[in-house]
């Protein structure tokens, strides 16, 4: 183990990144969509955030562990509820040292996938901290899903599904157990998150409308003060 190995690994990563860049170009320059959602995947290092994203975006899986440098994202356009929705999914580095970079991207993210590894107790214990991070840095109407990854590794399971569920209820998130390797619940997780964001969207629009209109009415009412009942035919 020497210092010199590090650049090698990174170079590999650069290749990977550039490959995805060219791949994603077509997708990302497409303007034919209705909404664009920004989604962030967070969680401890090595819980499988990148694998989860790769499984969803490219339907691929590599067992090799390549630590994400800072941040990365992928773009995927899906068709849901009669709408074409473009997802910009940010994959963040779990390592502490990149925290300043990743937290800067919490803002503006409409949805979070908070991930832990069911074979790693520490990653589960950190969920509370991650949730605090979301509350601190993100906007209040961001939606969060809790995902226990690697559920294919039942033999090495350290965190029971019940504990995961209890925690998610405690935090007020929805919960999934998933496996990027076996492609379990990956698509479902993203689709559910998109649905929650859509729900939140219509909710906030309906709630926001009266406030907006109320404020807008001011000068217009003085202009044309006809109350609605005046025109009633009776």
């Amino acid at each position: 183990m020497s210092k010199t190995r590090r650049p090698l690994v990174l170079q590999k990563f650069v290749k990977m990144a550039s490959a995805t860049a060219t791949y994603g170009q077509k997708e990302s320059s497409d303007q034919n969509f209705d909404y664009m959602f920004k989604i962030l995947i967070i969680g401890n290092s090595s819980v499988g955030k990148t694998s989860f994203l790769f499984r969803y975006a490219d339907d691929s899986f590599t067992p090799a562990f390549v630590s994400t440098v800072g941040i990365d994202f992928k773009v995927k356009t899906i068709y849901r509820n009669d709408k074409r929705i473009k997802l910009q999914i940010w994959d963040t580095a779990g390592q502490e040292r990149y925290r300043t970079i990743t937290t800067a991207y919490y803002r503006g993210a409409m949805g979070f996938i908070l991930m832990y590894d069911i074979t790693n107790e520490d990653s589960f214990n950190a969920v509370q901290d991650w949730s605090t991070q979301i509350k601190t840095y993100s906007w209040d109407n961001a939606q969060v899903l809790l995902v226990g990854n690697k559920c294919d590794m039942e033999d090495e399971r350290m965190v029971s599904a019940d504990r995961g569920r209890q925690l998610s209820e405690h935090l007020g998130f929805e919960f999934f157990e998933a496996s990027a390797k076996d492609n379990v619940n990956v698509k479902q997780t993203f689709e559910r998150l998109v649905d929650i964001i859509c729900e939140k969207m219509s909710e906030s629009l309906d709630a926001g409308d009266p406030a907006v209109t109320g404020a807008k009415q001011g000068p217009q009412l003085t202009e044309q003060p006809a109350p609605p009942h005046q025109d009633c035919a009776c």
């Binding site: 183990m1 390592q95 800067a104 503006g108 807008k216």
Partner: protein, 489 residues
């Protein structure tokens, strides 16, 4: 475990505890600890994003991601701009034309007369205008909206503004936007050495898209484009060196200083801007995407600046003094006639100012108006052009053509701001209204835009595209005046 500690400012205690933690964990492949960031977990939201602790290779990777993100954002901004342009068009169609006389009761959208008993229209719950049966969208007899309110809501959904509004609640006075974090970083690290190694390559698809729209193929060689981009980055770098990189802000500051009575209002907080915007405006998207502007400035301002500055040279002498001039505003009425032609032979944007009609009196007491039209290709504030001042008229005819030397593809992300001003005595200026026309959403093959078009004048910053940042102080002033004058009438 490989560790390479290569940073001077390492907090050793943190490093040790961190290493202990790591050892407790399974032997994961952790290949580097170049520095332990003492994560700022305090409740204060720190937006500082610093790449200094990263190694150069890592920096490259992160910057590459940021660059990709920026490309994506430019495309997204373009989409949103086009959407807002369409909304503006829709509103424009509903605006009253002063050539015609209207009865008391007309539909606010199509201007068809409404009866008193039948076809009497109903009040839209969105804008509280009276709307005829035909201009309604949505289901049911109760839950409908007028076409404009409907489109407004659509734009709000599709542009993601519904989500951005939440930011105001949580970060009311922040001047930072999430998007600009990456933007700033890109700026900071976009140093010369870097450019020479990795010239920012334009996204080929976007390029193609744009060129196909323009129809001119002579610019579409990727080589020229990337060289152009390189020049843009280069000039931006030079500008940074001469510390005039934030010249927009500098202009901002001088104005702010000279009109210090507004300076307190001119905080960049978006709540300040948004709230009054709602007060009197119809359904427009107020100041929607300030980030647009940020990225515009960053992405495309540089090229045109040098090219168009000669247009403004005669201007700067005359009206730079306006910084210290009195600034007033009155209610905005009337329309402005403009024709836009892009001459691809000379790479000139030719803007013909035809006439104005039905302007407000710049001096309402004396019923006087000496209007002139000022043209700016936003976000490049330096390219100001003005028409002559016409004396004593509210329907001035100019028929002046202003040429603006600008490469076709540099129009991407730019807007034409045409504002009408009254030139009063001394250095008093009165704002009479403005029109904002996105130059990229506008298609040149479109014959309609080459002919003269009447554009209704809007109050400052109320056009869907929003004004430039520097106008915010003025914007507020306009509003105060407006509401008071409305009450007076």
């Amino acid at each position: 475990m490989e560790t390479s500690v290569c940073c001077s400012a390492v907090c050793w205690t943190h490093l040790e505890t961190w290493l202990q933690q790591l050892e407790k964990q399974e032997k994961k492949r952790c290949y580097c600890v170049s520095m332990v960031v003492t994560a700022d977990q305090s409740s204060a939201v720190s937006l500082k994003m610093d790449l200094n602790f990263l190694q150069s290779l890592e920096k490259e990777i992160v910057l590459e991601v940021l660059r990709r993100d920026k490309q994506l954002r430019i495309i997204e901004d373009d989409r949103i701009r086009r959407m807002k342009y369409e909304l503006q068009e829709l509103r424009r169609r509903g605006a009253k034309s002063f050539a015609r006389q209207y009865g008391e009761r007309t539909c606010a959208r199509c201007q068809r007369p409404l009866g008193r008993f039948w076809n009497s229209g109903d009040v839209c719950r969105g804008c509280s205008h009276r709307i005829c049966g035909r201009c309604r969208m949505g289901v049911g007899t109760v839950d409908w909206k007028c076409t404009v309110c409907h489109a407004y809501r659509e734009v709000k959904i599709r542009s993601g503004q519904w989500f951005l509004e939440e930011k105001l609640k949580k970060f009311p006075v922040t001047t930072d936007k999430n998007e600009t974090v990456g933007e700033k970083l890109l700026q900071t690290y976009n140093v010369l050495s870097h450019i020479s190694v990795v010239p920012p390559t334009p996204p080929p698809h976007m390029d193609h898209h744009f060129m196909s729209r323009s129809g001119s193929l002579k610019n579409s060689k990727p080589f020229t484009k990337s060289v152009e981009d390189l020049m843009v980055s280069f000039t931006s770098h030079i500008k940074r060196i001469s510390s005039s990189q934030n010249d927009l802000l500098v202009v901002n500051d001088t104005r702010k200083g000279s009109r210090c009575q507004y300076s307190t209002q001119k905080s960049l907080s978006e709540t300040d801007i948004n709230k009054p915007a709602y007060l009197f405006k119809g359904p427009s998207l107020p100041n929607l995407f300030k980030k647009n502007k940020d990225s515009d400035q960053e992405s495309s301002s540089t090229g045109a600046e040098e090219e168009t500055s000669f247009c403004s040279s005669d201007y700067s002498g005359g009206t730079r003094g306006s910084n210290s001039s009195l600034f007033e505003s009155i209610s905005v009425t009337g329309e402005l006639e403009l024709a836009l032609v892009y001459n691809s032979n000379t790479s000139c944007l030719e803007i013909t100012v035809g006439a104005c009609r039905n302007l407000s009196y710049g001096n309402a007491k004396k019923r006087r108006c000496h209007p002139y039209v000022k043209l700016i290709v936003l976000p490049d504030e330096s390219s100001k052009m003005k028409t002559r001042v016409m004396k004593n008229t509210t329907d001035p005819v100019y028929n002046e053509t202003v040429k603006c030397q600008i490469e076709r593809h540099l129009l991407f992300g730019k807007r034409l701001q045409a504002s009408v001003w009254h030139k009063g005595t001394l250095r008093r200026k009165v704002f009479l209204g403005e029109v904002l026309i996105p130059l990229d959403g506008w298609r040149n093959e479109d014959k309609a835009s080459q002919d003269f078009n009447w554009y209704p004048l809007c109050p400052k910053g109320s056009s869907p595209d929003g004004g430039a940042v520097e106008q915010d102080g003025q914007e507020l002033m306009v509003r105060v005046k407006l509401s008071s004058s409305n009450h007076g009438v």
